[in-house]
Symmetry: C2
Subunit: 395 residues, 2 copies
């Protein structure tokens, strides 16, 4: 078993979590030798000699034989990861934003340099989703992966739905508890879930799809009327990432709020937890559930990646070179709920059919079927409008 001297980038919530877990469990095989941070003067209650603000101090140290990258800047993350791979130092990263945009290049670079990049911690925190999709669900029985992939937005939705908390109060609580970033846009607007879905899809079905080609819609515009609608229909609204292989080998993907009925496994996934349902042709549904946010759970997931490196584990990306990789398609009907204010907003939606239509002096909604391609088309126009969209499957 290898001995790893780690050069760590970033000492935020997760970096600190990893540091604490390593110290408290007295790990013999992995030690953090140096930490590169932006602000070297900030007091972190840890020996200042550990910190540097110069990446060269890490890359030029011949003792350091592993890079762990836990910063929130995607551009800097890419440059660190690339530099590490080129220097033949194994890398562990948690940066889903960076991965979702550059995974193809990084797969190629791993093959070229023969150096592993691990990132199980990037999707669903402590739940080993990527490694299971890569290793265990590696045959073509897999049908779909669907889940609550973002702990922050789920925490907020739980507080709003179950404790009647206001949106700002729920967000503030999430931030106070260390689940939400100072800028929670990525969590709330579904981007964080989208990035995870892109990564999951590579390992589940061997197809890389650019984030910008996928429909994503968040929860920031959800209001009282939407919550009332959900309660009336005995459903809960959850922010869901979803990828499914259809019978004709087409791949459907989206991230959007969904009105979930009580019989769904993920209906009961509350607070900062993540839950993923993996569906297969002969084994039915598998459900995995665990903490998806927070420094310690995510730090533990990073530790699992470090340990995997120490045993020479690397993702093989077998499915990327499988004979029949499914094609991404948006030519699929979706049943959705749209709450809107003006008829101009409603006119954006080119419905195939409408099954419910409600107007009043305070709120209006329709339930109808629309092609996913239409949602992708109007995606750039949805921002800033007083409306809310949720998938509303018949079940």
């Amino acid at each position: 078993m290898k001995q790893f001297n780690i050069g760590l980038f970033g000492f935020g919530n997760v970096g600190r979590g990893l540091y604490d877990v390593l110290v408290q469990t007295n790990q013999q095989h992995a030690t953090i030798k140096r930490v590169c941070v932006r602000n070297i003067n900030k007091d972190r209650g840890v020996d200042k000699a550990l910190f540097t603000d110069n990446a060269d101090d890490i890359f030029n140290d011949p003792d350091i034989n592993m890079i762990v990258e836990l910063i929130d800047d995607a551009t800097a993350s890419l440059s660190i990861v690339t530099r590490a791979l080129k220097a033949h130092k194994p890398v562990v990263t948690g940066n889903k934003h960076m991965l979702a945009h550059h995974l193809e290049d990084l797969v190629a670079l791993q093959r070229e340099t023969g150096t592993p990049l691990l990132y199980d911690a990037s999707a669903c925190g402590s739940i080993p989703v990527i490694r299971n999709l890569e290793e265990y669900y590696d045959n073509d029985l897999l049908v779909s992966v669907k889940g609550i992939l973002n702990g922050t937005s789920n925490f907020i939705l739980s507080k709003i739905f179950n404790e009647n908390m206001s949106y700002p109060d729920a967000l503030k609580l999430a931030q106070d508890l260390g689940f939400a970033e100072a800028n929670p846009t990525s969590d709330i607007e579904g981007l964080d879930s989208l990035y995870k879905l892109v990564i999951i899809t590579v390992h589940a079905f061997g197809r890389y799809v650019k984030p910008q080609d996928i429909f994503v819609y968040g929860i920031s515009t959800m209001n009282e009327a939407d919550i009332r609608f959900a309660h009336e229909k005995e459903r809960r609204i959850k922010l869901i990432g979803h990828v499914e292989k259809l019978e004709d080998n087409r791949l459907v993907m989206c991230v959007m709020p969904q009105l979930l009925s009580r019989d769904k496994y993920i209906y009961s996934v509350e607070d900062e937890f993540n839950g993923v349902v993996i569906k297969g042709k002969y084994y039915g549904k598998q459900f995995m559930f665990g903490r998806g946010a927070g420094g310690y759970p995510t730090g533990s997931a990073v530790l699992s990646d470090i340990m995997a490196c120490s045993y020479d584990y690397s993702y093989e990306y077998k499915k990327l070179s499988a004979p029949q990789v499914p094609e991404y398609s948006t030519d699929v009907p979706f049943r959705i709920y749209v709450r809107y204010n003006t008829s101009a907003d409603l006119a954006l939606f080119n419905f195939l059919s409408i099954s419910e239509n409600y107007t009043s002096d305070t709120t209006n909604y329709v339930v109808g079927t629309i092609k996913l391609s239409e949602l992708v088309r109007i995606k750039p126009q949805l921002h800033g409008r007083n409306l809310f969209i949720a998938a509303y499957p018949r079940d």
Copy 2:
């Protein structure tokens, strides 16, 4: 990727499930070349040329480069698996009875022959518990593994608890649906769960404990009074396998019915499903849930093992050689419920303390604390008595 020509032993529920899954998914890399069965004349609706009753027809066929063993005879299973390893043919088995008794020898034989033996399908059907414990939860953060490990007994308990079905009716239904064996003793008496727990413990904590040293108690004596008691306390009775590492590095293990409160994840695991809760020091609880019985789900799990073999995967058993493997101990207090008939039966139990005591003209019970070592001691005397034992944690 390797091409596997499989020699299959056994064509029962799981063997047939594997055959169907392979045919229906048109697997290119794995084909069943020959099947060894006891009764070659039985009509199985499959070309008779596929079958033989002579193991030599499989072992002497130079084309066959993988053995899959899915029979229910533990002695024959051991001889097949041993012979295959010695012939340097990778083996996949689902026989937990055999594994639980011979795992130490089989680990040694794998190392000696450099040939892999995979058996993820042996524990929890389609849930990849073993591989996750081996690969992902491979650091010393792991605290406990606890779960419903047997689909048949859980199916029966669900029908009794939720649909007021009688025990014989529930058992017959389980058999008709293909979950229960013709002889369900192993499922009902907790032995099947016990064998799985032994295997899980090797991969979770690196300690092999003989099945006969572990306390096991099943559900065959549960009656109306026990169900009433559970309902009164707002709990459900589930058959639970449990292994936990205590702070002082001692390992506690048992299989017994447990009175579970509503807030437990496994409280809601019903029917033939299995559910496993993996608890860690920093990541809290992870819950995995899926089908634990049935030919197709288990056949799919066997297929995952076959695929893993084709990529040269083998269990490394890292934890067996870890520096501080925890010691098995039964010197631990347990709070239990005992429903009994005669005071002679009650006198078997050497309670440390008793917190509830109920007697009536129809039924009697006590709730008290007893050492696990006492339960192990009296285990041989419990069989055939009109009593029922369940763990009853305070929560």
